[in-house]
């Protein structure tokens, strides 16, 4: 804690002499001293300097995220298309079947949508909540466009869709604009005619994908730790010039685009790629391995990309551990392993935790690498979000999945902070 702040404090010219060596001073007393030295109005002045940045962040980051995430719970497409029906449904309790007045309102709404040309949009948005609704809505609209008026029983006879419980519970669910449909769907749940149920096994996909995302993130985190920890230890014990050289080698790929690195891995991993060629030539493998479009290939590529994120926090902490402490432990009779375990490791742990958390959270959002290197069963949650945004045009579902991902990530972060203590984290 204090090492990080010491240089900043000592650079402050108005500090009384002698406080520059601050080792051992607690954070609380530091803050108190700072407060005394820098009155509140000066802090406010400093804050005003940051206002443009804050405004930019809020406008370009905060507002769009909130606007997009709000789509997960607010979808007025049904109430916009069926205002009269929504109004008529207000007077009914959930158990009552819709009566003649609701059907009259429905017919008036559909006729108006047909005339305005918005019927297709309504058909599509109802369809994304209820499979098969599109053709039924369009069929009804065509029927009504003929001009004839239908009674409730006539309409149900012509299009049985309108007599089904599911249809009305779906419309009722969208009659307020606010809906839990998408958030529940993101957890493979549905609020049906008989309460909260799981979706049919053939449609359940998101819980599995969330589990897979966490699984891959955990694997990559472990792999980067296994590679990064010894490497960080090695670098922190090398003479400075050599250490810098190794560090540059680690960082070099870090400075290239993630897309380029992923594409490079396709060249390496493919069936007739360099890695397979080398394995065959060395006689290690007799058959060409299927590394592309597989979980193994994905973890290898992601580990390579994430390595610096795990390594750097560990390295920065290790560098601050004086080697004399280990020597002192040895001289007091500790065996190498004991000295490492009881003197070195506890001090390196904050860096390890910070590096692992950083990598784990970044892995949860991976998109390009699974898309290019993973197979169909290695796609992570971001790939599904992208699919809902780009292909399905169902932004509500994309927002719901994003919301869930964000929630899981924040929960995880909170759990780390709660049980391990935020002040023990050390980033670069």
């Amino acid at each position: 804690m204090s090492e990080n702040r010491a240089p900043i404090i000592s650079a402050e010219p108005r500090l009384p002499c002698g406080t520059a060596a601050l080792a051992g001073v607690s954070a609380v007393s530091l803050r108190a001293k700072l407060r005394r030295l820098m009155p509140l109005h000066e802090e406010m002045r400093a804050l005003t300097l940051a206002v443009p940045l804050l405004a930019l962040l809020i406008v370009s980051f905060g507002v769009p995220i909130i606007a997009l995430l709000s789509r997960a719970v607010y979808d007025p497409s049904i109430v916009n298309a069926l205002p009269r029906t929504a109004e008529a449904l207000q007077h009914l309790s959930a158990a009552d079947p819709p009566g003649d007045d609701v059907f009259a309102a429905l017919e008036a709404d559909l006729k108006q949508d047909q005339a305005k040309g918005s019927i297709f949009e309504f058909a599509k948005s109802l369809n994304s909540r209820l499979s098969g609704a599109r053709s039924q809505v369009l069929k009804t609209a065509r029927l009504l466009a003929g001009g004839a008026a239908f009674s409730k029983s006539e309409l149900v006879a012509a299009v049985p869709f309108w007599g089904e419980k599911e249809t009305w519970s779906t419309i009722r669910g969208g009659a307020h604009g606010f809906t839990s449909f998408y958030l529940l769907s993101a957890l493979d749940l549905r609020w049906g005619a008989d309460g909260l149920t799981s979706v049919p096994a053939g449609e359940a996909v998101f819980l599995r994908v969330f589990a897979r995302t966490f699984m891959v993130a955990a694997l990559v985190t472990l792999a980067t730790l296994a590679l990064g920890f010894p490497l960080a230890y090695l670098i922190s014990n090398l003479p400075p010039t050599l250490a810098n050289l190794v560090l540059v080698l680690v960082l070099l790929p870090f400075w290239t685009s993630i897309l380029v690195r992923t594409a490079a891995w396709t060249v390496l991993l493919q069936k007739f790629g360099l890695l397979n060629d080398a394995l065959i030539a060395l006689g290690i493998a007799t058959e060409r391995l299927e590394l592309m479009y597989s979980r193994l290939g994905l973890v290898i590529a992601m580990t390579h990309i994430q390595l610096p994120f795990t390594l750097l926090p560990i390295y920065s902490v290790m560098r601050s551990i004086p080697p004399s402490q280990l020597r002192a432990a040895h001289s007091l009779g500790a065996r190498p392993l004991t000295a490492f375990r009881r003197v070195y490791l506890p001090q390196a742990l904050p860096g390890v935790m910070a590096g692992c958390l950083l990598t784990f959270i970044l892995c949860l959002g991976y998109y390009i690498t699974p898309a290019l290197i993973g197979g169909a069963s290695d796609q992570l949650i971001s790939n599904f979000i992208a699919n809902y945004v780009n292909v399905d045009l169902n932004w509500e579902m994309a927002a719901a999945l994003s919301f869930m991902l964000l929630t899981f990530t924040l929960l995880l972060y909170a759990a780390f902070a709660r049980f391990l203590g935020l002040d023990r984290f050390k980033l670069v």
Binding site: S118, A123, Y367, N390, D392
Partner: protein, 351 residues
Amino acid sequence: MRCLKITVSAVLTATILCLGAGKAAPAADELTIMATGGAWQAAQRQAWFEPFAKKTGVKVNEQEYLGDLGKIKAMVETGNVPVDLVTVETATVLQGCDAGILQRLDYAKIADRTKFLPGTALDCGVGLDVYGDVLAYDTTVLKDPPTSVLDIFDTKRFPGKRGMRKFPAQNLEWALMADGVPTADIYKVLATPAGVDRAFKKLDTIKKDVVWWDAGAQPPQLLASHEVVMTTAWNGRIQNAVEQDNKPFAIVWKDQIVEYDMISIPKGTKNSDLAYKYLAYISEPEVAAQLGRFIPYGPVRSDATSFVPKDVLPKLPTAPDHMKSYLVGDVEFWGDQGEELVKRFNAWLAQ
């Protein structure tokens, strides 16, 4: 962090555009066309973009995309549509039409609607060309050549990975065809839940052997890197790899699915008149036939066939030799059921 980038990228772009950064108002005599890249876009450039630019003095700007409508939806919803024309495929044109992001076209400004092949002059899209979804393989790898697209389901005779498009359209039809459903009944069967189950069950038999592709340029690459022994593909991409890159690929035409490429005007474009001018230009029979010189895709007007160069005709999906057993992709079916089937397909892939 990265995930946020993905999920809000559209909105962020929108915000940036709203802030006015990088918002360059297109000059009146510029036309921006977005297509799906690769050999097909290059062919359009030579056959249509450049001659149109020369004839009218209009500058044609190009953009590329994967055929996913989300990009267009983002433009339309934010009211900033920098693209005047966009190519779409039969399976998604109705979806874009319903979602209100593609304009309903005024054929009085384009051409006589009756001159087009049935199903190629739609409310929201004009047909550009006829192409075939075919099977392709490397002749140096497969000595015993497949004879039908449906051979992709035969893992005994053709072991190894096979490439298929990561999209339910065509794959479900082929699955039913391979399962013995007569061509005429494919869409009737596929419209029933039992038929969909049957198609997925057939796909289950090869699921672990499939490498899924997204972009039309991938199948030739997958074949060239020997990542797959055979792959479904768009015929033009394979033909161009053979002719321009001298790849030893061959096309299997039997049981091909014939599809149409469409071009549409996104809602809210500022150059609507110019876009119509372009549509009218490429719909002239003689101009429409020019595409075939650069990629073996046929015209969608029967009166344009006489303008197709003689040496190109036998390479087209519509050549008599290639039309012995085929299916025509059903636009209405995919407009109606597409969304559910995509959803089901993605859930199936993830399992």
